[in-house]
Amino acid sequence: MISLLTLASLRHLLRHPLQLLLAVLGISLGVAVVVAVDLANESARRSFLLSSQLVNGTATHTLSRAGATLPEDLYRRLRVELGLRRIAPMVEGYVAASLRPETSLHLIGVDPFAEFEFRGDGLASAAWSADLGALMTQPGAVLISTGLAATLGVGIGDSIDMITGGGVQPVRVAGLIETEDNALSMDRFVLSDISTAQELLTQTGQLNRIDFWIPADLESQWNGRLSGHLPRGMELEAVGTRNQATLRLAGSFQLNLTAMSLLALVVGMFLIYNTMTFSVVQRRPLLGRLRALGVTRNQLTRIILLEALLLGLAGTILGLLTGIVLGHGLLGLVSRTMGDLYYDLSVVAFSVPALSVMKAITLGMLATMAAAWVPAREAAQAPASAVLQRSDLEQRTRRMVPRLATAGVFVLLLATLVLVLSGRSLLLGFGGLFMLILGCALLTPGALILMAGPARTLGARFFGFLGRMASRDITRHLSRTGVATAALMVAVATSIGVGVMVDSFRGSVALWLGERLNADLYLTPVRFNAGNADLTLEPGLLGRVRTVEGVGSVGSYRRLPLDLLGWPTQLIVLNPTPEIQSAYRFKSSRPEGPWTAFESGTGLMISEPLAYRHGLRVNDLLDLPTPEGKLSLPITGVFYDYGSEHGMVLIHESIYRRYWPDPAMASLGIYADTPDLTTLTRRIETAVADLQPVSITPSRAIREQSMAIFDRTFTITNVLRALAVLVAFVGVVSALMAMLLDRSREFAVLRANGLTSGELGGLMSLETLFLGASAGLLAIPTGLMLAWVLIFVINRRAFGWTMQFQVDPGIVFQAVLLAVIAAILAGLYPAWRLARTPPSVVLRSD
């Protein structure tokens, strides 16, 4: 049976439905943001694994070659000469249907007969459910899913024009694949046999990889059998290891998102703390009566914690449901960023893992209970007789201010120590960041007292006696205003911190793009999208461009994926003209400069993130995996780069030609001798027309495209920032509103003594205005400190980038304005309510 104490407490909650609703809303929004990000992250991770599972099936290992294809003959030798039966070839690449050129399709070429027995539930086995005969016997035959067929409006026997590396080629739909499980949707796959895929991708006689099914206990035996038969540069790699390495790429990005969402929860925790503190403060007389009746401190603590538990439970459940809806929306943003930056997501499937639900419940409940613990203890520790006295609470709060300030300084010092001494630990970096927020929050009540003096002078000057009264009330009710101001300050500071960080990042990237893209025009093969970024230029094209009138100099460039030190990185092949050399800015280099050894092919250069991640420095030797085996070269320079957090290795074209079988380049940077770039573009297009369709783009357009991708990447960050602000907004409005409603009696006394309802509204608005403005002003230094830590500690540790610190006053102004607006809005309802209620009614009620 429910005890009377519990009953009294529950009825108290139900008697204040607006406060209850706002408190639950505050908790639920905090939890929802965390759940949404967790689900979006988890779903993106699971989507990648599903994509991998679809392509790989149950293959345990894969044989591939760094930045190159495998000769088809190798597969024949392994199967015939070594007698390996549990292997299967695969050709893969990206195409697009001309009807929908913006959607990249993953083309997979398989040999269904080679792998029928052991591929498992993968994509290849699906071929067996369709018309296999047609697939194997008809040229240009492909299988697509029923979903894709419906999207493209085609059926069996219809032809589709596919945009491929070699131009537009027709394929014929030989069959449709039915998929029962939505999570394993095959709508972004096109399946063909090996030869059709080779034709479409213009790689006749070449495979992308050979998949192996090796029982775990026979792994070393297989390695033994293979050794000596594999050409140099080829590696047999476990699929699981490869997947993990790929997933690790996005680890920092996902951790950052999680931390951002936790920031929303921290803001939420302040608000829960505020709500619970207020709930306790509001009931001090009631708690005093209970203490007088013999209710012990522990019983009081338990009652308040039980309330918090119920609020937390309601908020968490609501937050969980909201989070699932929100997560579904965020998944699009997260997976698009993943696709842009990290790995292919041919399948995007939203899922709600039980673990995520458990995490959300635990986090929501723990956050609420932790936030409620202090007010619960505070209420219970007060002497029984003093609980009845309001003045006692305010006096004790005032007495606590120096202690809080001391604790704040101590926590800030500790945060500094953690940030300085935690090396490269990202988690400890976040720990330091959260301590910084806590430290500043602890200093807030003290700062509020210091600001009260000037506020009083200004208030009296501009608003007369109302201004004086309002500013005095802020410090007179410090037990409530202190926490509310701290909560609002943290929320606004978070907004400033993240805003300045993103803006600084954007500024750094814009500067870097301006320096790096210093050619006038860039020439690449025609691409329909990023899916076939590895298209190369025809031999002879470079020579042809150089002869065009108006072309000054030409630099060539190629980018290849490279597995380096266990991380997928990028290999950049460069033929650096002096103009290209001037486009690179170095963090460190050899005394004689980085380019001398580079140009002679006796050194390489690496990007800052790669150097940071692996602790590499100038003159260190780097083992570069090449198709011809390992190549050790010294590092001649470390350059700034924001193009890839995975890192880049820069080598000279001469090394590339020596060690890689495909010496083609992928793009050209053209420096013009003429200001008329339109005419020059036309001339170049004419000069190379018979060789290859090319795309010539001015550097300005590339810069704009790059910035558009940057902004797209940070859409999710800005959404989270907005959500954190929303959490704060709701919480602060509720906290301030509750605070004012609680003082109804006091305001009614003022009304009874002759204050008009307009003056009372003015008084309440001025109080909230002072509070909002104080929180906004205090949020500026805190927000800038947060931004500094985010830029120089968090981003550096997560991505290895050095960014410049730039503050847009607009961001700061917006944030402060937001604080003031939230605070003023909070005062409207109580002012309206009090204006409508005769003071006698308020004064009569107990």
Partner: protein, 227 residues
């Protein structure tokens, strides 16, 4: 030790409060003895320390010096938790502003002290409500009652768990004269009927005259009132 017949015994009790950084003495070497079944009225000016005296007797505050015995329990020597449990068991309160729990019904307000003492007895609670003339308001919440009715409920509540000692802090201070008179009849009647000891703070000399003994708190010490 206290006298065996004393329900309340205070010896050499001093208490001061800090105000503006300076101690302000309220009670100075105060002695008080109230026998079982006795009704004692405490008079004195506002701020004289009457409520502080009740707080010391109930264990809500501790003396700076001296001893407080209630029903032979050395309240001054108990830790905070023991004092709370002592208060729960031995003391019933009647406040000037009633101090009922607004979120509990009238009946539940009476049941609360019983529940805290693990002796819930709804029949006894209803009997007490009948005694104070409010049996028909058992399901009402306190804010639906008049001041006089609330104070009658407060008296019933103070007796609900059958404590030997009742402390009343200006029980009629918030009521009109006629209602106050009725309330005091009720309080005195039920106290005598149940054989309780009552310590009552009041400003009314008329009320004090109805007590077995009246004391005035002046200059931190108690003197017999000549009424």
């Amino acid at each position: 030790m206290s006298d065996a017949t004393d329900m309340v015994s205070l010896r050499g009790v001093s208490k001061s409060f800090e105000e503006g950084g300076h101690p302000r003495p309220v009670l100075t070497a105060l002695d008080l003895h109230a026998q079982t079944g006795q009704i004692l009225a405490l008079l004195g000016r506002s701020g004289a320390g009457k409520s502080t005296l009740l707080n010391l007797i109930s264990g809500m505050e501790l003396p700076d010096l001296g001893e407080v015995f209630v029903n032979n329990t050395p309240v001054h020597a108990l830790d905070e938790r023991s004092r709370t449990l002592f208060r729960r068991r031995e003391v019933g309160f009647v406040f000037q502003f009633f101090n009922l729990i607004p979120t509990l019904t009238v009946l539940e307000n009476l049941l609360l002290p019983m529940e805290l003492n693990l002796r819930t007895d709804a029949d006894r609670a209803r009997a007490l409500l009948t005694r104070v003339g409010l049996a028909d308001r058992a399901g009402s919440f306190p804010d639906r009652l008049s001041g006089g009715e609330q104070q009658r409920i407060a008296i019933a509540r103070s007796l609900a768990h059958d404590p030997p000692l009742l402390l009343a802090d200006e029980p009629t201070g918030n009521l009109d004269a006629e209602t106050g008179e009725q309330i005091m009849d009720l309080l005195f009647g039920t106290v005598r009927e149940h054989g309780k000891t009552l310590l009552m703070v009041t400003h009314s000399q008329e009320l004090a005259r109805r007590a077995d003994r009246a004391l005035i708190l002046r200059g931190g010490a108690l003197v017999d009132a000549l009424l």
